[in-house]
C-alpha cells in the first residue's frame, strides 16, 4: 500500500498545493498570534526589570494615588510613607515615582507629554545619552525619540502646562537627553524628567506609581520584612521584592494582553474553519476523481481500511508539510510585525522575538489535526466505493437520507437560531444574540450546500443566453452541486463576516455622528476672553484659515423685555445672521427671523407665544414678535443680528462658529485649532469636530484591523475557489480537448472558466452580503439594547458593499487564471487522448 500511497501522492501533489497554502496560512496566523503575545509579555517583563534594575524592593499601590490640592483628600500614601522607609537602617536609598500629564509647547507645535520625577540616585534607572541631570525646577531632560521628533537640541527652551487646564505654562530648558528604552510598552508620548519639586504643584495632578527601595547589603526578602513593618497600617499598598513586583505587574499588563490574544485567536479560528472547508472539499474532489482507482484496488484485494489509510496518509503528509510551512510563515510574519513595532511611529516597542517551542508544536498540531479531521469524511466516502465501480463509471452514491437529514437539521438550526436571534436583538441582549447568531449561521452553512447549487443554477440561466462559453460555464458550475456549494460556503463565511463588520461600524459611526451633530451642531466655536469681543479683522482671519468652509458670527447684548401687563425683565441676547447660522450648523440651529424674538418657554414670565414684545436695549427700543421654542437655550433670547444692532448701540462679537469639511481628519482639526489659537492669546476653541474626528478615527482603525484580520480567511476561501476550479479542470481535461477540437478558442476556454468562477464568487458574495446585513442588524440592536438609551440604526454603506461584491468577483475571476492556464496549455490532441 505504501507504494500506492507514494504514487498517489506524486500525482496529487500538484493538486494539493493550494490546499497546503490554505493550511499554512491559517497555521501561520495562529503561530504569529501566539508568538507576538509571548513576545509582548517578555517585553513587558524586560521593561519592568529594567525599571527596577537598582531597586531591591518596590512598594506598589493597589489603587491609583492622586495628589490633590487639598491635603485632607489626598490619597497619596506613597509620599507619606517615604520618610518612614528612608529612616530604616537597612535602606540605602528610596524614592517615589511620580508622573503627571502635561501639554508640551515647542514653537508652534503642541503635544501631549508626561513629566516624571528624577529619582534619587540610589534607585534611578534611566540613563543619559547626552547632557546632565536637571539641577533646578526650570530644567528637564527629554527622551531621545521626542528630541529627534521635535527637532530639538540641548539648551532649547520648551514650555509645559498642566494637561487638565492648559493654563499657567512654565518654561523649561532641556539640559539632558535620556537614551530610549531598548524596548518597552510606552505611551509613545514624550517623557520629561524634572525635579520632584515641580510636581509638588497640585495643578499637575501628579500620580504616584510606586516607591523604589534599594537595600544596604541585605537580602531582598529580609528588606521586604523591614519595609513592611515600617509602613504597616498604611492602606492600599503592597510591599514586594523587585522580582515579585515584576511578576505582579507583568500579570496585570498581560491580562490585557490575554484579552487581545483571545480576540486574535477568535479570528484565527475563523481562518482555521474556512481552511478546514477548503481541505475537506479538496479531498472530496480527489476521492471522486479516483473512484475507479480505489475500486480497482478493492478488486485486487485492498480492504476498506487500506483505502481509508491511503486518503488519511495523504492528509497526514499534506498536514505535516503545510503546517511546518505555516509555522515558518507565522514566525516570519511575527518577526516582521515586531520589527514594524520598533519604528518610531509605533507606541508599542516589542523586543526580541520570543519563539516558544511549545507554541510552535501547538501550531503544528493544530494544522495536522485540522487536515486529518477534514479528510475523515472524504476518506469514509472512499471506503464506500464498491469494487464494481472499476468496471462501470459510477460515483459513490449520495444517500437520500443524508440529504433529508441535512435539510431537517439545517432548517431546525436556522429556525431556532433565527428566532432566538430576533429575540436577542429585540429583547434580551448581546449574549443571547451572539449564541443565536452562531447557531443560525451553522444552519445557514448546512443549508447552503443544498441551496447554493440552485441559486447558482438560476444565476447561470440569467447569463447562459449570452454566449456558448457562458452557457457551458453555467452548466459546469452546477454539475457538481456539492463541490460548488462547499467552495461557495467557504467564501460565504468570509464575506458575511466582512459585511457584518463594515455595516456594523458604519452604522455605529453614523449614529454617533448624528448624535454629535444633534448635541453639538457646530464643528468649531471660537470664543474670546477679551470683553471687547472679536474685531472684524480677527473674524476675517479665522474665517480665512484653510479647511474652514463656512463661518458665522454671533453678537451679544443685554435686552429688557416687556409687554402689556408684563413688567420689564432682563435677559442676555444672541444676535445671529440666519443664513450664516444655518450654513454652519450640522443640525437645525435656533435662529430668529427678522422681527422675531425666540425664547425658551421656561423664560416666558407671562409673555405669550406669538404676541408682541417690547424690546429695549442701550441703543433704543423695538417691537418684536415672541416665538417660543423648546429647543432654544434657556436663560437667553435669540434675535437677528440686524434687530440687535437696532436696539443695542454696540453689540460685541462674542463667538465665531466654523464649519469644516466633512472629511476633515483629527490632525486637520488639530491644525485648525492651533491655527486659531496662534491668532490670539485669549482665544478658546470648542465644538463638536474634535469629538467627531476622535470617534471616527477610533472606529476606522478598529474596522481596518478587523478587516485585515478577516482578509486571511477571505484569501484562504479564494485559494479554495482556485483549487476547486483547478481540480475540475483536470477532471474535464478530455472535455476541454473535445471543445477545442470543435472550435472553442483558447480565449473562450479561459473565459468559460472565468465565468464559472465569477458565478460561484458572485453567488457567495451576494448571499454573504445579505446575511452580513442581517447579522449586523441583530448585533446593533442587541448592543443598543444592552447599552440602554443608545439608539443605533442600520446604515448601509452602499459604496463599501459594492466594493465587497466587486472585490469578491475580481478575486473569483483571478482565481480562475492559473486553472485556465493549465486547461489551455495542452494541445487538443493531448487532452483528448488523456496524455
Amino acid at each position: 500500500m505504501n507504494i500506492v500511497l507514494l504514487a498517489g501522492l506524486r500525482t496529487s501533489l500538484a493538486r494539493l498545493v493550494a490546499t497546503g497554502l490554505a493550511v499554512a496560512l491559517s497555521v501561520g496566523f495562529v503561530v504569529a498570534t501566539l508568538t507576538l503575545s509571548t513576545t509582548f509579555t517578555r517585553t513587558t517583563e524586560q521593561t519592568l526589570t529594567a525599571n527596577m534594575s537598582h531597586a531591591d524592593v518596590r512598594i506598589t499601590p493597589t489603587v491609583a494615588m492622586v495628589a490633590t490640592s487639598d491635603p485632607r483628600t489626598s490619597t497619596d500614601v506613597l509620599t507619606d510613607v517615604l520618610p518612614r522607609v528612608l529612616a530604616l537602617d537597612q535602606v540605602a536609598g528610596a524614592d517615589v515615582e511620580r508622573l503627571a500629564l502635561v501639554e508640551l509647547r515647542s514653537g508652534s507645535t503642541r503635544s501631549a507629554a508626561q513629566v516624571a520625577t528624577v529619582l534619587d540616585e540610589s534607585v534611578r534607572w534611566q540613563q543619559l545619552s547626552a547632557g546632565v541631570w536637571p539641577a533646578t525646577v526650570a530644567e528637564a531632560t527629554l527622551d531621545q525619540t521626542a528630541v529627534s521628533a521635535l527637532g530639538l537640541t540641548l539648551g532649547d527652551i520648551l514650555s509645559i502646562a498642566p494637561a487638565s487646564t492648559g493654563v499657567g505654562a512654565i518654561n523649561v530648558t532641556i539640559v539632558g537627553i535620556t537614551s530610549p528604552d531598548s524596548a518597552g510598552v510606552g505611551t509613545g508620548a514624550p517623557t520629561l524628567l524634572m525635579l520632584p519639586a515641580v510636581l509638588d504643584n497640585p495643578v499637575y495632578f501628579p500620580v504616584s506609581t510606586g516607591v523604589l527601595v534599594a537595600g544596604d547589603n541585605i537580602a531582598a526578602a529580609d528588606l521586604v520584612g523591614a519595609v513592611s513593618a515600617a509602613v504597616a497600617g498604611s492602606p492600599g499598598i503592597v510591599v514586594q521584592t523587585a522580582a515579585q513586583a515584576v511578576d505582579y505587574q507583568t500579570g496585570e499588563l498581560s491580562g490585557s494582553g490575554t484579552i487581545l490574544t483571545s480576540i486574535l485567536l477568535a479570528f484565527a479560528a475563523v481562518a482555521l474553519f474556512v481552511a478546514s472547508m477548503v481541505i475537506s472539499n479538496t479531498f472530496q474532489v480527489l476521492v471522486a476523481q479516483r473512484t475507479r482507482e480505489f475500486a480497482l484496488l478493492r478488486c485486487i484485494g485492498a480492504s476498506t481500511a487500506q483505502v481509508r489509510g491511503l486518503i488519511l496518509g495523504e492528509a497526514f503528509v499534506l498536514g505535516a508539510v503545510a503546517s511546518a510551512a505555516g509555522v515558518a510563515l507565522g514566525i516570519v510574519g511575527a518577526g516582521a510585525l515586531a520589527a514594524l513595532s520598533r519604528t518610531d511611529s509605533s507606541t508599542l516597542h516589542l523586543g526580541e522575538l520570543v519563539t516558544d517551542p511549545l507554541q510552535l508544536a501547538l501550531g503544528m498540531a493544530i494544522g495536522m489535526s485540522l487536515t486529518l479531521l477534514s479528510a475523515l469524511s472524504p476518506a469514509h466516502r472512499a471506503t464506500r466505493v464498491r469494487p464494481v465501480a472499476a468496471l462501470r463509471a459510477v460515483e459513490a452514491p449520495r444517500t437520500a437520507t443524508s440529504f433529508v437529514l441535512r435539510a431537517i437539521v439545517a432548517a431546525a438550526l436556522i429556525a431556532v437560531g433565527g428566532y432566538t436571534l430576533v429575540g436577542g436583538a429585540t429583547r434580551s441582549g448581546l449574549g443571547l444574540a451572539v449564541a443565536a447568531g452562531v447557531i443560525s449561521f451553522v444552519g445557514v452553512l448546512l443549508a447552503s450546500t443544498l441551496l447554493i447549487p440552485w441559486i447558482v443554477r438560476v444565476a447561470g440561466l440569467l447569463i447562459a443566453w449570452t454566449s456558448v462559453p457562458a452557457r457551458l460555464a453555467s452548466l459546469n458550475a452546477s454539475r457538481n452541486p456539492g463541490r460548488t456549494a462547499s467552495t461557495a460556503a467557504a467564501l460565504l463565511v468570509g464575506v458575511t463576516l466582512v459585511t457584518m463588520m463594515v455595516v456594523g461600524v458604519t452604522s455605529v459611526r453614523t449614529s454617533v455622528n448624528d448624535k454629535i451633530d444633534e448635541k453639538r451642531p457646530v464643528d468649531l466655536t471660537v470664543q474670546t476672553d477679551d470683553p471687547a469681543g472679536f474685531t472684524a479683522t480677527m473674524v476675517g482671519q479665522i474665517a480665512a484659515l484653510p479647511g474652514v468652509e463656512e463661518s458665522a458670527v454671533i453678537t451679544a447684548g443685554r435686552l429688557g423685555l416687556s409687554a402689556d401687563g408684563v413688567a420689564e425683565f432682563q435677559l442676555p441676547a444672541r444676535g445671529v445672521v440666519p443664513e450664516e447660522a444655518r450654513a454652519v450648523a450640522r443640525s437645525a440651529p435656533t435662529v430668529a427671523a427678522a422681527g422675531e424674538i425666540v425664547l425658551n418657554p421656561s423664560n416666558a414670565r407671562g409673555l405669550t407665544d406669538g404676541t408682541g414684545v417690547t424690546v429695549r436695549g442701550s441703543g433704543g427700543e423695538r417691537m418684536l414678535t415672541a416665538r417660543f421654542d423648546p429647543a432654544a437655550q434657556p436663560g437667553q433670547v435669540v434675535v437677528t443680528a440686524e434687530d440687535l444692532l437696532v436696539v443695542v448701540a454696540s453689540p460685541t462679537t462674542t463667538q465665531v462658529q466654523l464649519r469644516l469639511s466633512d472629511t476633515a481628519s483629527g490632525a486637520e482639526v488639530q491644525l485648525i485649532s492651533s491655527g486659531i489659537m496662534s491668532l490670539g492669546e485669549d482665544l478658546v476653541v470648542g465644538g463638536g469636530a474634535p469629538e467627531r474626528t476622535y470617534y471616527a478615527q477610533i472606529l476606522d482603525v478598529m474596522l481596518l484591523i478587523v478587516l485585515a484580520l478577516l482578509t486571511i480567511a477571505v484569501v484562504i476561501a479564494v485559494v479554495g475557489v482556485a483549487n476547486t476550479l483547478a481540480l475540475s479542470v483536470l477532471e474535464r481535461r478530455r472535455e476541454s480537448g473535445l471543445l477545442r477540437a470543435l472550435g472553442l478558442t483558447r480565449g473562450q476556454l479561459r473565459g468559460m472558466l472565468a465565468v464559472e468562477a465569477a458565478l460561484i464568487a458572485l453567488v457567495a458574495a451576494g448571499c454573504g452580503v445579505v446575511l452580513g446585513i442581517v447579522y449586523a442588524w441583530a448585533g446593533l440592536s442587541a448592543v443598543a439594547l444592552q447599552a440602554n438609551k443608545l439608539s443605533l440604526s442600520v446604515h448601509l454603506p452602499w459604496d463599501q458593499l459594492g466594493i465587497i461584491l466587486g472585490g469578491t468577483l475580481v478575486a473569483g475571476v483571478l482565481a480562475s487564471v492559473i486553472p485556465a492556464r493549465q486547461a489551455t496549455r495542452k494541445s487538443p490532441v493531448n487532452a483528448l487522448s488523456g496524455r
Binding site: V468, L738, A741, R746, Q748
Partner: protein, 257 residues
Amino acid sequence: MSESQRFAASAVELRKSYGAGDSAVHALAGVTVAFPRGEFAAVMGPSGSGKSTLMQCLAGLDSVSSGQVYIDDVRITALSDRALTKLRRDRVGFVFQSFNLVPTLTARQNMLLPLSLARHRVDRAWLDQVVQTLGLADRLKHRPHELSGGQQQRVAVARALLSRPAVIFADEPTGNLDSAAGTEVLTLLRQAVSQLGQTVIMVTHDPVAASYADRVVMLADGELAGELANPTVESVLSALAQASAASPVQPATSSRP
C-alpha cells in the same frame, strides 16, 4: 494551385516525431497524400503505424515536425492557434472513437455546438433532415449518458454534418460499436458522401468498414504502403496481409503497452 483545388485535404512530405535523439519515434516519416473532394477515404494499417497521428495532423489538432498540410487550399501548418481554431470550427468535422460529446449538453445542443461557437445561424431544414436521417428525433433532449453508444456516435456524426464542413475526420468511429450500430454509422457516412458530396476521411481496422469507402490508403511504419480503389472486404484483407508481410519489423501489436 489549380491542381490542389480538387482536394479537400492534403499533406506534403509530412513528418511527425515524438521525443528526440536516439529514443525519437517517427510516427510519420514523410507522408504525401491527397484526398479529393467528395471522396470517402479509409486509412488502414497495423497498430502504431501512424494512422491517428496522420489524421490529427491533417485536422490541425496537432503540430507537425515538418511538411505541409492543406485543408480546402489553406495551408494550415502556417496558421496561428486562433486562426486554426476558427478553421476547425468552420471547415472540419470530427467523429472520435469515444468521448465525442460534452456531457453537460443535450444531444441537440451537442449537435449545434460548432455552429453556436461560430455564431452561425442554424439551417432548420438541414437540421431536421439530418435528425430524421439519423433517427434521433426523439432523443434530442437527452444528455449523452442517457444515450446508447451507437446513438452517441450518431449524434457526433450529425454534429459533423450540420456545419457542412470541407472534410469530416473519423478515427475508428465504429470501434466501440456492435456490428449493427456500426453498420448504421457507416451507412450514414456513405450517404453523406454519395448524396451530399461530403468528404470523409476515416481511420479503421475493420475491413468491413473499409469496404464502404471509395479508396483505402495503407500506412505502415509511418509511411504510405499502397492504396486500393473501390475496396471490397476480400481485397482489403489481402492488401493488409501484403502490407504486414512487407514490414515484418512491425508485429501488429507488440509496440503497444
